[in-house]
Symmetry: C2
Subunit: 139 residues, 2 copies
Amino acid sequence: MTRVRNGHDAHGAGVTRAQRAVLAALAAEGPFVSAQDLHAQLRGAGEGVGLTSVYRALQALADAGEVDVLRTPSGEATYRRCGSDRHHHHLVCTSCGTAVEVEAPALERWVRQVAATHEFAVDSHTLEISGRCRTCARD
Amino acid sequence: MTRVRNGHDAHGAGVTRAQRAVLAALAAEGPFVSAQDLHAQLRGAGEGVGLTSVYRALQALADAGEVDVLRTPSGEATYRRCGSDRHHHHLVCTSCGTAVEVEAPALERWVRQVAATHEFAVDSHTLEISGRCRTCARD
DNA sequence: ACAGCAATGAAAACCGTTTTCAATCGAACG
DNA sequence: CGTTCGATTGAAAACGGTTTTCATTGCTGT
Ligand SMILES: [Zn+2]
Ligand SMILES: [Zn+2]
Ligand SMILES: [Zn+2]
Ligand SMILES: [Zn+2]
């Protein structure tokens, strides 16, 4: 009777080889990285993982809530393994890419309230703040 | 001595033919629309405007702050002519596309404050709420 | 060993957007 | 008018990120 068959399983963290590789690479990362960056990084590290598999792994992990997805202003998707499992937002440095996770109950409350005011049933919301972190604040 | 030469001029609204066409089409629109949708719409209405020009016009108008840009979750850029000139956010209906503009001084203050707490110099921020408007709230 | 199915990845297809470039338009000047 | 010259236009090609296709490979249970 089926054991740890690939595809789904014990709360779904890193089941396939590609997923494990991606998770490992993300673990060491601070900033949000794109699929292509990840692929290049894995290639460089000897890990033979095809670009297609990187995309597939990231998609699966994102669906499973294991990684956070963030769209760059140019529309490119970037990924990160965040510390918190709970809903949160980000403060990202446009220079070094570092991201700070921030939880804001007051904001969440506000969102629900303004939606209610306009009689909207909220599906989701996004809030991202971008700027320069202290160390990158040269200029 | 040079008169209304194209390229720049009286507070920059709709100088080129393409820009005028785009602005006219957007004026009649409630929801955010993509460049391609706009192009199709203009084509359908007999307005002969090339797709390239639609992209260029939208870019110019967005740069001039005449239209708001919103990225769909899939990364596609959508545009809308908003009522307010001031900084604001949106509440968008995932079904009919209608958007409500919302100004939130308290939120803006909060953003600046949380950034300060983490010693970030804020460049920009985005906040979008998506859900179902009242009329679309069928199920 | 064998059958069956999921995982893999190279190559091709996709899709929104940008670039290229030759044709066209239109104001300015003689 | 006719010419000039920069701005505008748009078809076609290039681009860049992502998804699909499909043949191969690797496991798992029999
Ligand atoms: Zn930084
Ligand atoms: Zn939130
Ligand atoms: Zn609606
Ligand atoms: Zn704001």
